[in-house]
Amino acid sequence: MNDFVKKFIERIIEGALMISSTVTTLTVLLITIFLFKEGISLFNQSPLEGDNIITVSANNKVEHISSAQIKNIFDQKITHWDELGGKKDSIILFTFNDLSTYFSDDEIGANFELLPHKIDSLVSNTPGIIAVFSKKYLAPNFKGKIVQVENVSLTQFISGEEWFPTANPAVQLGVLPLILGTLWVSLIAIVIALPIGLATAIYLAEVANQKMRNIYKPIIELLAGIPSVVYGFFGLIVIVPMVQKTFNLPVGETALSGSILLAIMALPTIITVSEDAIRNTPRSMKEASLALGANRWQTIVRVTVPYSISGISAAAILGIGRAIGETMAVLMVTGNAAVMPHSLLQPVRTIPATIAAELGEAPKDGIHYKSLFALGCILFLITLVINLWVDYISRKRSNYSK
C-alpha cells in the first residue's frame, strides 16, 4: 500500500515537471497570439482619425484617396485634382480649423446646429473642394459625395516612407524608415564588433594561457551583465559628445553613436559563441597541420577558423539579433528621428526604440497602439528567423563533426 502511494506521488510530481516544461512553448505561443491579434487588426482599417469623413462635390470623378494623398493635399504638395485622376480644378481644402474663415458664428448657430446645412451647400457649390469633417455634421440628404479612403494595407505599411502615427486627419503608417534604421544601426555595429570580437575569441581559445583566460572570462561576463540602460547612459554622456566633436556635427545623437554602443554590447555574445566554436575544433586536425610544418598562426588561418566558420557565423548572426532587439541604449543615443536614413551621421530611429518611446502615449486599441503592436510582430518575426537560422547552423555543425 505504502509503495502504491509512493508511486502515485512520484507520478504526480513527474506530471508537474512535464507541465512546467511546456511553459516556454506556451509562452512563445501566447506571445505570438497576443502580438498578432493586436497587430493584424491594424490592417483593413481606415487610417482616418476619429469619426472624420472626407467629402467632395458630387461631380468630382475621384472615388478613392489614400492616406498619403490626404497628407500631400494638407501639405499642399498636391494642389490640383488632375493629379488624383480628376478634373483640372485646383483643390480647395476645408477642415474644421477653417470654420471661422468660411462662416460667421451666427451662420453656424450657437451649438453648431446649422453647420451640417452650411457644409452641405459649401461642398455642392464649390467644384474643387475637399472637405474633412466629423460624421455628425453630415446633412441628412447630403448633396456632395463621400470619398472612400483606402484602408491601411500591409504593402503600404512595409514600404511607406512616412511615419506620422498621430497625424490628423489621416495617420501615415510607413515603417520603412524604421526597418532601415534598425538594420543600418545593427549591421554597422556588427561590422565594428566582429573583427574585435573574433580576434579576442581566437586569442582566448588559441593564444592565451589558462591564467589570462581566467582573468578575461569574468570580465567579458561582466560586460554582458551591465544593464542596457547603463550602456545608454554611458553612450549619452561619452559617445554622443565624442561623435559630435569628431565629426563636427550639430547633434551627436546619430546612427553612428548607436552603432558604436551596440558594437560594445554585442562583443560578449560574439566572443563567447565564437570562442566555443573555435575551441571545438578537433585536436587531431590542428596537430596534423602543425606536424606538416605550419606554425600556430598558419594553423589558425588555414585550419581552425575555416573549420569553425559556421560557429563564427552563428556568433555574428546572434550578435545582429541582439543588436536588432536592443531597446533602451539605442533609444537614448540615436536621436530617434523617423526619417529615411541617408548617412551614418544623422539621427535614426529603430523599431524597438519606436515602440518604447510611443506606446506610453498611444491610446489603447487606437490605430497608433495597433501599429506599434504590428511593429512588435515584425521584430518578433525577425528574431524568430534569426534563432531558427542559428539553430539550423549549429545542428548542421554537430552533424558534420560526427
Binding site: 512520484e10 510530481i13 508537474a16 515537471l17 512535464m18 512546467s20 516544461s21 511546456t22 511553459v23 516556454t24 512553448t25 509562452t27 512563445v28 501566447l30 497576443f34 502580438l35 491579434k37 574585435i196 570580437g197 579576442t200 586569442y203 582566448l204 593564444v207 578575461y216 567579458i220 561582466l222 551583465g225 551591465i226 544593464p227 542596457s228 540602460v229 547603463v230 550602456y231 545608454g232 547612459f233 554611458f234 549619452l236 554622456i237 561619452v238 560594445i264 562583443l267 566572443i271 606554425n295 598562426w297 598558419q298 532587439g325 536592443e326 531597446t327 537614448m332 515602440i355 518604447a356 506606446l359 506610453g360 489603447k364 512588435g376 521584430l379 518578433f380 528574431t383 531558427l388 539553430d391
Partner: protein
C-alpha cells in the same frame, strides 16, 4: 628574408594584434566602469539609498526605486525559479531524445532570443490589459519572470547534464526511485551551478528596462507600494527617466550618476558572488 623568418614574423604580428584588441575589450569595460564610478561614487551615501527623491528628482535619494527593484526581483524569481527548475529537470532527466525534447529546447532558445521590448508589449497585452492587473508589481514580475525563464532552464539543464551518469546508476542500483535519485543525488550536485544561474538572472532582472516600461514602472512615486497591484519605481527606469526626460536634466545629472553606480554595483556584486560560489562549490563537489 627566408620563409621561416617571414612565418615567425607573421605569427608574432598577428598574435600581438590579437593581444592588443583583447586588451581593448577589457579597456572598454574598465573605462565604462571607471568613468561612471569616478563620477558617481561621491553621490552614493546612506542618505542617497534611504531617502525619497526631492525637488523634481534633482535631490534626495532613490529609496523607492531600490525597493521597487527588490520587489520585482522577488516577484519574478518566485515565479520563474520553480518553473524553470522543474522544466530543466524534466527536459534533462525525463524527456526522451527525439522530436519533443528538441522542440522544447528550440522553444526555450527562441524565448531567450525574443527582444525585451517584445516582452514588454506582450506583458502589457496579456497581464496589464488582458488579465486586468493594470500597471502593477505582479504584471511586471510575471513579464520579467518570463524573460529570465530560459536562463534558469538552460543553467538547470546544463548543470544536470554535467553530472556523470555513474552517480545516477549507483543510486538507482541501490533501489532508489528516479525521483529519489534526483532529489538526493543529482539535484544537490547540480545546485551550485543552478544557484549561479539564479544569481545571474537576478542581475538581469534588476537591470532590464524595456519590459517594465508599460507593465509596472512609475515615473515618480513618492510612496512605497502596499500591495502587489501597485505601481513602483525601479532603478533602471529611474536612470532612464532622469537622464533623458526629467524636468531638469542638467541638475539631476549627479542623481543619474549615483543611480548608475548603484546599478553597476548590484551587477558587480552579483557577478562576483556567482563566480565565488561557482569556484567554492565546484571545488567542494569536484565538478564544474
Amino acid at each position: 628574408m627566408d620563409i621561416n623568418t617571414r612565418k615567425r614574423l607573421a605569427e608574432n604580428t598577428a598574435f600581438w594584434v590579437f593581444r592588443i584588441l583583447s586588451l581593448g575589450v577589457i579597456g572598454i569595460l574598465f573605462s565604462i566602469l571607471g568613468f561612471i564610478l569616478s563620477k558617481g561614487i561621491g553621490v552614493v551615501n546612506w542618505d542617497f539609498i534611504t531617502k525619497m527623491p526631492e525637488d523634481g528628482m534633482t535631490k534626495g535619494g532613490i529609496y523607492p526605486a531600490i525597493i521597487g527593484t527588490l520587489y520585482l526581483i522577488a516577484g519574478s524569481m518566485l515565479f520563474a525559479f520553480p518553473i524553470g527548475l522543474m522544466s530543466g529537470i524534466y527536459t534533462n532527466e525525463y524527456a526522451k531524445e527525439g522530436f519533443i525534447k528538441r522542440f522544447i529546447k528550440l522553444m526555450t532558445s527562441n524565448l531567450a532570443g525574443i527582444p525585451s521590448i517584445v516582452f514588454g508589449l506582450f506583458g502589457m497585452a496579456l497581464f496589464v490589459n488582458g488579465m486586468g492587473f493594470g500597471d502593477s508589481i505582479i504584471a511586471g514580475s510575471l513579464t520579467l519572470g518570463l524573460l529570465v525563464l530560459p536562463i534558469i532552464i538552460r543553467t538547470t539543464e546544463e548543470s544536470l547534464k554535467a553530472i556523470d551518469n555513474s552517480f545516477r546508476h549507483a543510486s538507482l542500483a541501490l533501489g532508489a526511485t528516479k525521483l529519489q535519485t534526483i532529489r538526493r543525488v543529482t539535484l544537490p550536485m547540480a545546485m551550485p551551478n543552478i544557484i549561479t544561474g539564479l544569481i545571474l538572472s537576478i542581475g538581469r532582472v534588476s537591470g532590464e528596462t524595456a519590459p517594465i516600461l508599460f507593465t509596472v514602472a512609475a515615473y515618480f512615486l513618492p510612496k512605497l507600494p502596499t500591495s502587489m497591484y501597485d505601481q513602483v519605481m525601479a532603478l533602471p527606469y529611474h536612470l532612464y527617466v532622469i537622464s533623458t526626460s526629467g524636468t531638469n536634466i542638467a541638475e539631476s545629472r549627479s542623481m543619474a550618476y549615483g543611480t548608475a553606480v548603484v546599478l553597476i554595483l548590484i551587477v558587480l556584486i552579483l557577478n562576483l558572488a556567482a563566480n565565488a560560489l561557482r569556484r567554492y562549490l565546484g571545488k567542494k563537489y569536484k565538478i564544474n
